[in-house]
Each structure stands twice: as structure tokens, then as C-alpha cells.
């Protein structure tokens, strides 16, 4: 009887044999190697699968060696800047957030590949196109979203009489009061990290109906009653449920505090549960995820699409595109996503009910969160000005100053002044 492993091997060999002439024809005969660079994944298996399975398979098929350069978490933007500025380095680079808009001119139009992939795999979700399509051209191919959700201790919530994760911010505040009294405060980053701060602050801000800037990118909207309500709530949420230290946290701190059993709830990617399963199984057993609570004007999440872009300095773009076509073929992409342990929620219709979601039900909220995910600075344009707002921590510091005791009026006025300068608005 044929085992599953044997079946897969035979299938792959057959697929390879069928595709090899096509790929070899598409790729330039002179290309011997393709370089890729990405932020190293929290899921080791995801990187390992690329290096130990996908790259050797492609080399076997085409003779082209595919290398992978991992970049430490939080360092990819710097690496991408050096690649774009020096016009050298790996040809295929991992991008996140709104980077395709920033590096538009340094990236090749991959609309043809995106079109083919979308056609084969049930079409791309509309929302991801906001971040990867620049001037109607696809500048990157998304493989998945790193969602930021509520991560909480089920045992401590139960002790506090909360059996189901609160559905709105006010109920979460009420639960947090009890939990803090029980010695289990919350810990949401309000410092200058690169992801876990914006990961919950923009959703909170939007859920109260507040906006930084209008769709036109010229009308600053932050000075509003909705913003004031969000700021007032955040101040109460901080004072009544959290520890002061969160004001100085960067992205590593909430993971450390949660796994150190210092806090009972935070906003994070699934990396906390992943690490807990590996190193702290007792904590993993009592950890779960939930969607961000909703506010008076809805429920939101932050969009952080992870994609691969083909850099303009690549000498053989035909060969690089052939590799991308192969990688984004269901036979490869599907297996790669499975190796990612549902850390990346794909944006393709055919994967909405992918078996990867069945392995661990606690990851399902990450799939559900896609529908309500928005890019930073939404609904404003997500170009240069949005990045400047993020780099200057306008929203984060507005909330942080309110939490440390500044008046709502003052913090909003400061943020409005900053945004008017950034967006060159009156």
C-alpha cells in the first residue's frame, strides 16, 4: 500500500517533471541563483520549509539555487531601504504594512503574476489590494496577514467570573478592573514599539468612529468628539486595568510579561501561544485568542499583509517571476502556509476554508479578523504621510500622554497639529 509520504513524493516528482520544461523555458538560461530576503518568521517551521523543502525542490526542477536571508524581527524595513538605495542585494524581498507604496519605484510590476494566481486560487481579497496595488499595479504578492488580536488567560478570566471574552471595550474594561484587583492586570503596549502598539490603538480609535485623516489625505479629522471619547476610554482602560510600565514597552515586553504570568490579557499576534506551546505548555493550555472588542462604531483590526516583492534591480526578472509563479502555485503555497501553523492568514478565496485552519481552533479568530482589518491611517491614503505619522507615533503618543495625565483637549490638539504638518493640511 502506498503511504502518504510516498504518494506526495511521486506527485511532486510528476508535477516537477511536467513543469520543468515550462519553468526552464521561462527562466533565463544564465540565471543560476535567486536571492530572497524576509523578516525571519516567529514560526521556525515556516522558514525551515522554505529553506529545506521549497528551495531544493525548485533547484531540482530548474537548476536555480534559491537562497534565503533572514532578517531579525523589526529590521526588515531597514534592510529593504538599503536594498532599494544601493540597488543591490536579494532580488525578492519580503514586505509588510504599506511598504509597496513607499518603495513603489524600486519594485517591479507583478500584476501579471498576481492576476494568474488570483484566477487560479479563488481571487484576492479586496482589502489586501489597498496595500500592495500602487497606481493600479501590483507591486507585491501577499501570502498572509499577521493579525493582532486579544490574547488572554482563560483561567484567570474565569476566576473573575468572565467565561466568554468581552465583546465590547466597556465590558473588557469591567473585566480588567476585577482582574487587576485579583493581581492579574492587563498589559497593552502604549510605548514606541513597531507593531503591538498600533495593533490595538488604531482599532480602538476607529471603533469609536475617530479618524486621523479623510480619504482625500488633506482633511485632518482627528480633532473630534469621537477621538475625545476614544482618548477618555483609553485613559480609564490604562489606569483601571494596567500597570504603568506599558507606557515604556516595546514589542518584546508584552510577550515577556504574558509568559512571565505578569499580565492576563494583551494584544498580540499568535506568537505568544506559539512560544507558550513550545516552552510553557501549562500557560498554553489556559491561553486563548479573541477578536478585538467592538466600540460604538464597530469592530476593527490592523492589517499587516506579508508579501513578496520583486526588486527593480533584479537582473533577470523573467527568471524571478517564474520562481514567484511556481511559489504561488497551490502545490507550493498551500504546503508553505500549513508549515506556518496558521500564523499567516491568506488573502486568497480558495484558502478561506483551507485545512490549515483546522489544526488549532484557537487560531480561527485570526481568519475572522481579516474582514475588519484596515491599514494604518485608514481611511486616509497609505503613502508617505501615513508612514510619517506612524514613525512619529502621533496616535500612540496621543493616547500615551492622556494615560500619563495630560488633558484630552491638549493631547488631541498636539496630534492635530502634527497631522496637519504631516499631511500639509490647513
Amino acid at each position: 500500500m502506498t503511504t502518504r509520504r510516498e504518494f506526495l513524493t511521486v506527485s511532486l516528482a510528476a508535477t516537477g517533471a511536467a513543469l520543468a520544461p515550462q519553468l526552464a523555458g521561462a527562466a533565463s538560461k544564465t540565471t543560476k541563483a535567486i536571492g530572497t530576503v524576509r523578516e525571519s518568521s516567529f514560526i521556525k517551521g515556516f522558514d525551515d520549509f522554505f529553506v529545506k523543502t521549497l528551495a531544493p525542490e525548485y533547484e531540482k526542477l530548474t537548476g536555480i539555487k534559491v537562497s534565503y536571508e533572514p532578517v531579525s524581527v523589526g529590521g526588515m524595513l531597514t534592510r529593504l531601504t538599503t536594498i532599494a538605495e544601493t540597488k543591490s542585494g536579494p532580488e525578492i524581498a519580503g514586505v509588510g504594512l504599506n511598504w509597496p507604496h513607499l518603495f513603489d519605484r524600486a519594485m517591479v510590476d507583478v500584476s501579471d503574476v498576481a492576476g494568474e494566481v488570483g484566477k487560479k486560487l479563488g481571487g484576492w481579497h479586496d482589502l489586501v489590494q489597498d496595500v500592495v496595488v500602487v497606481n493600479k499595479k501590483w507591486k507585491a504578492l501577499p501570502w498572509g496577514n499577521i493579525g493582532q488580536l486579544e490574547v488572554y488567560r482563560t483561567d484567570w478570566f474565569k476566576e473573575a467570573g468572565v467565561t466568554k471574552f468581552p465583546d465590547n471595550w466597556e465590558d473588557l474594561l469591567a473585566a480588567g478592573r476585577i482582574l487587576k484587583k485579583n493581581g492579574h492586570p492587563f498589559g497593552f503596549e502604549i510605548g514606541h514599539g513597531f507593531g503591538d502598539n498600533h495593533g490595538w490603538m488604531y482599532p480602538l480609535f476607529w471603533s469609536y468612529g475617530a479618524r486621523e485623516v479623510d480619504r482625500d489625505g488633506k482633511t485632518v479629522l482627528i480633532d473630534s468628539d469621537e477621538t475625545a471619547k476614544a482618548v477618555d476610554f483609553c485613559r480609564r482602560f490604562f489606569k483601571e486595568t494596567m500597570i504603568e510600565d506599558v507606557l515604556g514597552w516595546t514589542d518584546v515586553n508584552n510577550n515577556k510579561a504574558y509568559l512571565g504570568e505578569q499580565i492576563s490579557c494583551t494584544n498580540n499576534a499568535s506568537s505568544i501561544l506559539v512560544v507558550a506551546k513550545r516552552d510553557f505548555p501549562e500557560i498554553a493550555k489556559v491561553t486563548d485568542h479573541a477578536l478585538n472588542p467592538q466600540g460604538p462604531k464597530g469592530r476593527y483590526h490592523i492589517l499587516n499583509a506579508q508579501s513578496l516583492a520583486l526588486m527593480a534591480h533584479a537582473p533577470d526578472q523573467v527568471a524571478d517571476k517564474a520562481f514567484l509563479r511556481w511559489l504561488y502555485d497551490d502545490k507550493q503555497l498551500s504546503r508553505w502556509l500549513v508549515s506556518g501553523d496558521a500564523y499567516y492568514a491568506p488573502f486568497l478565496g480558495a484558502y478561506d476554508n483551507h485545512p490549515m485552519w483546522n489544526a488549532e481552533p484557537r487560531y480561527l479568530p485570526f481568519k475572522e479578523s481579516l474582514k475588519t482589518s484596515r491599514p494604518h491611517a485608514w481611511p486616509g491614503p497609505i503613502g508617505q504621510a501615513a508612514s510619517e505619522s506612524v514613525a512619529k507615533y502621533v496616535l500612540v503618543d496621543m493616547f500615551a500622554k492622556a494615560c500619563r495625565g495630560d488633558s484630552t483637549k491638549d493631547v488631541i490638539a498636539t496630534a492635530a497639529t502634527q497631522l496637519k504638518q504631516i499631511y500639509k493640511a490647513k
Partner: protein, 310 residues
């Protein structure tokens, strides 16, 4: 004795030594330039070029991966309207002034102690260098743990000795965060002061102290009238270097706080990085970085003139 025509035809030997590469290299003018060239090339490539390129960038509206457009001093003009920039300026001056003063006082004290004769002196001198030897990133990560509210050894000690009731939030409170980064910078920079001043102290002849002691000078008088005047040149040089390093510090605040909370620990270097890299505005980022130049230049010129006058 008759002289053969062949020996008459041979040219007379040239006065001095024959021309060889070795001889050329031995010339002082050639040899000194030969030794200087690698250093000069290094400085040109890794100091002068980036510096002048930074100056060019600061005068451009230069977005990442795009061509720059010359805008003159517009970036600097925009910075003057940026409230965060002024906060960053204040932070940098406070950070540099307090950390340098602490390092100067602590380093001098350390050098004076290390200049005494005691058992294990050499071992103590080796340990003194440890904070300076350990890579900054590594030691700063260790400080992250030391300053963590829950795991902090400082908090644990203060609570268990009854000095405080609740844990301090070393990096979450704006004032304490600045105190913390100044403290860590002082810890890291003390050995530089200590060892350099120790070298200065060892050049002072013991005869001077003996003569002063015979004349009845107290320890304090000997310190102010012998030690200080003689190590002043070294002190000024080391202060100049220390101010430059501290003013442009990046790794320490970037790792510990990333400029937070609410910009309370943002310095020129961290802010320039955020604007240049995260926001992708290389021109504006360069302008922020260059904003520290006038203050540093004034200080260096001032200290150099003071040194020359003496």
C-alpha cells in the same frame, strides 16, 4: 703602470647609494604618507563621504527609493515647527549634560582609586573595563531585564530593604525612563573616563606630591593644585570624546525605550532613524541628524581653544 682602455671606459661610480625601492620607502616623507594612507582612505570612505552625503541629503526632499529634489534649508525650517524635534533637542542636551557630568566625576574618582597601591589592583583594573568591552547591544538587553518592573533586581532590592513599597516603572515613567538611560550610559562610559584619566595620573611624578606634602599641603590641596592642573588636558580631551559619543548615542535608547514613553527619551539619533527609515524621508532624517552638528562643533572648537590657551 699602464691603464687599459677598458677600465677607462667604465663610468665612475655615482656618489651615494644606488636607487632601490627599499631606499625610497625609507625616506621619511614617503614612509609617513604610506603609513597614513590606509587611515586617511578609511576616514574618507567611512567618515567624510557619509558626512558630506548626509549634508547633501539634508538639503533635498529625498524620499526613499526616489530621486531627491533640492529644497535648500526647507527641511531645517520644517523641523523648527516640529514640536517633537524640540523635545528631542531638550532630551539630547539633558541626556548629554547629566551623563557627561556623572561620568566625569565617577571616572575621576575611579581613576584616583585605581592609582593607589592595593592587592588585586591589576584584576580590579581589568574588571573596570568590562562595561566598555561588552557589546552595547548585549549589555543593554541585560539592562532591560534589570529595569523590568517585575523582574528588576533594583526593584527587588528596594522593596526588600523597605525603601519603596511598590515597584518603580523604570522605563514606563517619563522621568524615570530618562534617569534610567542616563544611568546605563554612565555605567557604560565610566571605564573610558576611568582608564584614560588613570593613564594621565600615572604621568604625574610622585616627587611633586612628596614635595607638596613636605610643605604641608593637605590631600585636597594636592588634588586641586597638582593633580587637576596636570590632568586637565587629558580631562578635556576625554570629555570632548565623551560628549560626542553621548550626544550621538543611538543603540542604548533605541533598545531600551525606542524613544518612549511619549518621546521622553527620544534623542537626535533615534529620531533621525525613525524619520529617515520608518517614514522613508531620508532628506528630513539627515536634517535631524545634522541638527546636532552646530552644538558639537561649538563645543569642540571651544574646548580646543581652551586647551591651546593653557
Amino acid at each position: 703602470m699602464a691603464v687599459g682602455p677598458a677600465s677607462l671606459a667604465r663610468p665612475a661610480p655615482v656618489a651615494g647609494r644606488p636607487f632601490t625601492l627599499k631606499r625610497v620607502l625609507e625616506r621619511e616623507g614617503v614612509f609617513s604618507w604610506l603609513m597614513l594612507t590606509p587611515g586617511v582612505l578609511f576616514l574618507l570612505a567611512f567618515v567624510a563621504y557619509p558626512f558630506f552625503y548626509g549634508m547633501v541629503l539634508s538639503l533635498q526632499d529625498r524620499k526613499v527609493a526616489q530621486h531627491g529634489v533640492f529644497v535648500g534649508l526647507a527641511n531645517f525650517a520644517l523641523l523648527t515647527q516640529d514640536a517633537v524635534f524640540w523635545q528631542v533637542t531638550r532630551n539630547t542636551f539633558v541626556y548629554t549634560a547629566v551623563a557627561t557630568a556623572l561620568k566625569m566625576a565617577g571616572g575621576l574618582a575611579l581613576a584616583l582609586v585605581m592609582n593607589q597601591q592595593f592587592r588585586g589592583k591589576n584584576l580590579a583594573r581589568a574588571f573596570l573595563l568590562l562595561p566598555f568591552i561588552v557589546p552595547t547591544v548585549l549589555s543593554t538587553v541585560a539592562w532591560m531585564w534589570i529595569l523590568d518592573p517585575t523582574f528588576s533586581v533594583i526593584n527587588w532590592t528596594l522593596v526588600h530593604t523597605g525603601l519603596i513599597r511598590e515597584n518603580f516603572s523604570w522605563l514606563g515613567n517619563a522621568t524615570l525612563a530618562m534617569v534610567s538611560i542616563i544611568g546605563v550610559n554612565t555605567w557604560r562610559g565610566l571605564p573610558f573616563y576611568g582608564i584614560t584619566l588613570l593613564a594621565g595620573l600615572q604621568t604625574i611624578s610622585p616627587d611633586l606630591y612628596e614635595a607638596a606634602a613636605i610643605d604641608g599641603a593637605s590631600i585636597t590641596q594636592r588634588f586641586w593644585h597638582i593633580t587637576m592642573p596636570l590632568i586637565k588636558p587629558v580631562l578635556i580631551i576625554v570629555t570632548m570624546f565623551s560628549v560626542i559619543f553621548t550626544f550621538s548615542d543611538f543603540q542604548l535608547p533605541f533598545i531600551l525605550t525606542h524613544g518612549g514613553p511619549a518621546n521622553a527619551t527620544h534623542l537626535f539619533a533615534t529620531y533621525a532613524f525613525e524619520i529617515g527609515t520608518t517614514a522613508g524621508q531620508l532628506g528630513m532624517g539627515a536634517a535631524v541628524a545634522l541638527a546636532m552638528l552646530p552644538a558639537l562643533a561649538l563645543l569642540i572648537v571651544g574646548l580646543t581653544l581652551y586647551l591651546r590657551r593653557d
